[in-house]
Amino acid sequence: MQDINIQLPSILDQVLQSIPYFKAELALIIAFLGSILATLFLDKAWKQSSFLITIIGIIVSFVLSTQQFGQPQSGFFGMLIVDNFSVYARGIIQIALLICVIFVQQHFQNKKFGKNLGDVYSILLTAGLGMNILTMTSNWLLAFIAIETVSISSYILVGYFSENKKQSEASMKYVLFGSVSAAIMLYGLSLLYGFTGNLDFTSFEHIQGLIEAPKILLSIALLFMFVGIGFKLSFVPFHMWAPDVYEGAPTPITTFLSTVPKIGALVLLARLFEEWTSSSFFFSELVLILVSVASIVTMLAGNLIALRQTNIKRMMAYSSIGHTGFLLMALVGNLASEPQVLLFYITVYTIMNLAVFGLIDTLEQKIGSAQLENYQGLGKQFPILFSVFTLLGISLVGLPPTAGFIGKLFVFTSIFDLFQFNNNRYYLILLVVGALTSVISLFYYFKIPLFAFLRKGEAVNILPTKSTWIVYIISIILGFSTLVLGIFPSILLSLFK
């Protein structure tokens, strides 16, 4: 007790000093509280108050986090790392979150149901908070808390509306799968803690402990730990929940799920991966192999299964699984390059997914379905929408002149650099599979223009809904931005310098 008493003031000092590094997250927390309060009191007077507070909170948080640019710091006893990588990542997360919030608001504002939309905003804010923290930490404890924050928020988001059977089923699958994964990860973390006696995975003791740990148990621990991260990133074989949940969840929530949580988890994995593979010990090789194999299998499985989907949301779920594989490849490539390649790909991926789901949402509002065959012949009715949709498809496949192509090119470039450097056959397989799955993915992405333009269908009645146009406009802008970024990638890349 004596020790603690002596340490206490310095600890408190440290905590107080660290708070400024936490400004952005504090903004989110305040917005979270504000929006709850607004839901309770203000919304009756003015319906959009909680929405407004949420928006302001996110924007403020974005501004605050960008201010941290160029000042690498760490606070809370090294638990919080504020570096440029995390600033970028949080920037992307917050913009994506902002768009998700707008999507949610637009999607639900016309629906009549007994639940309060304000709660959804606040939960989205907590998810954002969790994500932010996830990008800033190298401490298992904080990482776990962040992951759980995001997870629990996501469970609620999926299950909150429960408009129909599918939504409730999706949420149940999500929560149970998620919790099991979290539990397994926790067990794995406990073993890691046991081996190292330290929770910071970048620390010397931690790595030292891993080097000395018994190999078999270490393998188990690492695999268990991967279960949790795998769940969040939904790579094979931890992807099973994704299609069901994506399909079942309301479209704006799917938009959220397919973008924001992945960014955070990916940043965490990137930190871990970079730290651990830089040495040449058993566990580092193991991590490299695990990530490479996961990447290869994920790309193959995701793209192959997507071939036979008829529901566009489900198809996009598999597509995002496939892209996760590619993100993992980008992560491996991150070893060779500055994080800008990874960030570029993440950004492009986020833009593409936001835009695609935005368009799906728009169409769902208009024709009341997300089945591919219902898009039949719609190309004439919505020429611009489907042109942009096709453009996004091109970008998702990775064809020029879109940003998707540049992203793929950079990833290939960095992997090739690695291959040239140490001639590891995993890199070669990654390259070949990455190229091959691009070809495969063309098949299903082009089902959209196929149905919309190539097939004839009767004109459909447009459902009388108003104000989907904001989502629509955002999606169109995002869609065109893939083209612009494809021709002038420097715009984005120079940001990530």
Binding site: K173, L176, F177, I216, S219, M240, W241, I305, L307, R308
Partner: protein, 668 residues
């Protein structure tokens, strides 16, 4: 005016070539509206005049001329439009002109009233352009171009009546077989180009040409190959066995066309080609040419015996005579070959034109009497002498020339070949004697079959019912050209001495050094033998075909004799004629079903092969492609199987994977 008359031979020869082309263009542009053919006629008249006065007269027996105009450069090699005027080429060009002119005039009335007459003139002019161009090409590439164009024009003309199935089949066959030859030519070009780096005739074969430089091994496989390839080209064009098959079929075209293209000029192009590039051939190639030529000569002559179609007899006769020319080339006496080419052109053209006149009349008869018979079948003719005396006269004259009867041009040229062949064979060795002996035999057969034609067609009585009023001589526009050709079939055109080819102008100018010595006694014995045997065969033929039909009509004092003759005929028939005719039939059968069958079989085989390959393409090559796509699709489907919606299966699957990972890591 004076200036105009002083055009140089080079320019004149170019004009000779270009005039028909101009006519072709005019006719093509004017199309259907213009049927008189006046452009073609004027063009060929001018060409003939130019060729005769400004080219032939200037260059013949004078210094050769040549001109080059740069055409295109490929890589570092430049190809030129070259014009080569030497004795050989101007002779050939002049022959083509002088034959084409009467045929044009003849066609004017022969083709009158045909619905496609405008095409006829167009094609004819195209042919003349190509043929005339072929004769004076200095560059082998250019020669090849004209060579194929000639074949193309021939294709068009054979299929002139394109609604007739047999005509269309025939022209396809003609073009394809000619294509085989063209490929030979093309590969020959490729060999020459890769050996010498140029295709210029003078540069390769001229006096200090590349061929005679020491680095070139004249007996190397490559040069032999080139020789064989060029000969292959000549074989197809000049209808040498076994590529002769297209020529009899080609008789589907208008008769005037047959006379010009398939008797006088185009088919002779092969001989002309071989003569132009003669130095290229080494002994091996020459021997092959000799063998093929001999086989062609004899087989075609035998085939001719079995024919009833008047045009087919002439076609086989042409093939046989071309075999003669080939033999002449192969023994080194290509001047004799060219000589025969020249004489043959006239009399064979005349034969065809006469046959055309006959067919024309028979067809008229058919139309008037509404009978159904083949106007070209000998068995339907007979006694035409009474109705068409002038035609008969001219055709007999041509036949005599073909048979090599003294005082005709054929006598001179045929003797030249046969005697040279004997001389060559005697020098080479005994076995080689087979060649001249066969040539003599062919000569006898030739006399026989042409006699048969004349006897059957013009003697006796008409074998179809006829209103005689409808049969008469051809109109003047047809007769005049025929008469002109008839005059040209006489010795005087070629030599003042009717009995010795030694004085023939063509041979005296185209100086060729024979490799074999002259043997004097042959120069008397061979002509005498040939003439005698021809007479004999006519006598037999006359008895058999003309007299043999009237055995009961003669007075009693003649009966014995007649019977004797008949008995003799019988004997002759049994021991000679019948087997020969039978052989002719058999060999024609062989030709039709086996040799031609091989061709058809090959085409059948190729069709089957293409069918098979298409099947492979569809089911195997494309099948693999689709199978890959299907596989990807099914793989995706199989993976979907796990995604059955049951949460605990998901968990189980995931954990199993983790477990497998753990086990793998442990075992590793």
């Amino acid at each position: 005016m004076n200036y105009l008359l002083n055009i140089s031979p080079i320019v004149a020869s170019m004009l000779v070539v270009l005039l028909p082309f101009l006519a072709f263009l005019m006719q093509a542009l004017l199309g259907k509206k213009f049927t008189s053919g006046i452009f073609s006629l004027v063009a060929i008249v001018l060409s003939t005049i130019l060729s005769g006065l400004f080219v032939f007269a200037e260059v013949w027996n004078a210094t050769p001329l040549q001109a080059d105009y740069s055409w295109f450069t490929i890589g570092e090699k430049t190809f030129c439009f070259g014009i080569l005027l030497n004795n050989l080429t101007v002779l050939m060009q002049f022959i083509v002109c002088i034959i084409a002119l009467p045929v044009h005039i003849y066609s004017k009335s022969y083709m009158k009233g045909d619905a496609g007459i405008h095409r006829y003139w167009m094609y004819l002019s195209l042919f003349c352009f190509a043929m005339l161009g072929l004769t004076i090409s200095k560059n082998l590439l250019m020669m090849y171009i004209f060579w194929e164009l000639v074949g193309f024009a021939s294709y068009l003309l054979i299929g002139f009546w394109f609604t007739k199935e047999s005509a269309v089949q025939a022209n396809k066959k003609a073009f394809l077989i000619n294509r085989i030859g063209d490929l030979g030519f093309l590969i020959g070009l490729a060999i020459l180009f890769s050996t010498f780096g140029t295709l210029d005739l003078v540069e390769i074969l001229g006096k200090d040409g590349l061929l005679f430089q020491e680095v070139i091994d004249h007996n190397s496989g490559l040069i032999t190959g080139a020789g064989i390839c060029f000969f292959l080209g000549a074989m197809a064009k000049s209808a040498q066995f076994p590529l002769h098959l297209w020529l009899p079929d080609a008789m589907e075209g208008p008769t005037s066309v047959s006379s010009l293209i398939h008797a006088a000029t185009m088919v002779a192009a092969g001989v002309f080609l071989l003569s132009s590039i003669f130095p290229l051939f080494n002994c091996t190639v020459l021997l092959i040419i000799a063998i093929i030529g001999t086989i062609t000569a004899i087989t075609a002559a035998i085939f001719a015996l079995g024919q009833y179609d008047i045009k087919k007899i002439l076609a086989f006769s042409t093939i046989s005579q071309l075999g003669y020319m080939m033999v002449a080339v192969s023994i080194g006496a290509w001047d004799a070959g060219m000589f025969h080419l020249a004489t043959h052109a006239f009399f064979k053209c005349l034969l065809f034109l006469s046959a055309g006149a006959v067919i024309h009349e028979m067809a008229h008869l058919k139309a008037h009497t509404h009978q159904d018979f083949d106007p070209q079948d000998l068995r339907n003719m007979g006694g035409l002498r009474q109705y068409m005396p002038k035609t008969f006269l001219l055709m007999s004259l041509a036949s005599l020339a073909l048979a090599g009867f003294p005082l005709t041009s054929g006598f001179l040229s045929k003797d030249a070949i046969v005697i040279s062949a004997f001389e060559w064979a005697l020098q080479q060795g005994d076995l080689y004697l087979v060649v001249p002996i066969i040539l003599v035999l062919v000569s006898i057969l030739t006399a026989f079959y042409i006699g048969r034609l004349i006897f059957k067609a013009f003697f006796g009585t008409l074998r179809v019912n006829a209103d005689h009023a409808h049969l008469h001589d051809a109109p003047k526009t047809m007769l005049i050209p025929m008469a002109f050709l008839g005059i040209c079939s006489l010795f005087i055109i070629f030599s003042w001495n009717p009995f010795s080819y030694a004085n023939a102008a063509i041979l005296n100018v185209l100086v060729v050094n024979y490799t074999f010595p002259e043997i004097h006694f042959l120069h008397t014995i061979v002509p005498v033998t040939l003439t005698a045997s021809a007479l004999l065969s006519w006598w037999i033929g006359y008895n058999w075909y003309v007299k043999g039909k009237y055995p009961l009509n003669a007075s009693s004092s003649w009966i014995h004799l007649a019977q004797n003759q008949f008995g003799m005929n019988e004997w002759m028939m049994k021991t000679f004629v019948s087997p020969t005719v039978k052989l002719g039939k058999i060999s024609f059968w062989f030709d039709k079903y086996i040799v031609d069958g091989l061709v058809n079989g090959a085409s059948y085989l190729i069709k089957q092969l293409s069918g098979l390959i298409t099947w492979i393409d569809k089911y195997i090559v494309d099948g693999i492609v689709n199978a890959v796509a299907y596989l990807a699709y099914e793989l995706g489907n199989a993976l979907r199987f796990v995604q059955n919606g049951r949460l605990q299966n998901y968990l189980g699957f995931t954990l199993t994977m983790v477990l497998i990972g753990i086990i793998y890591l442990i075992l590793k």
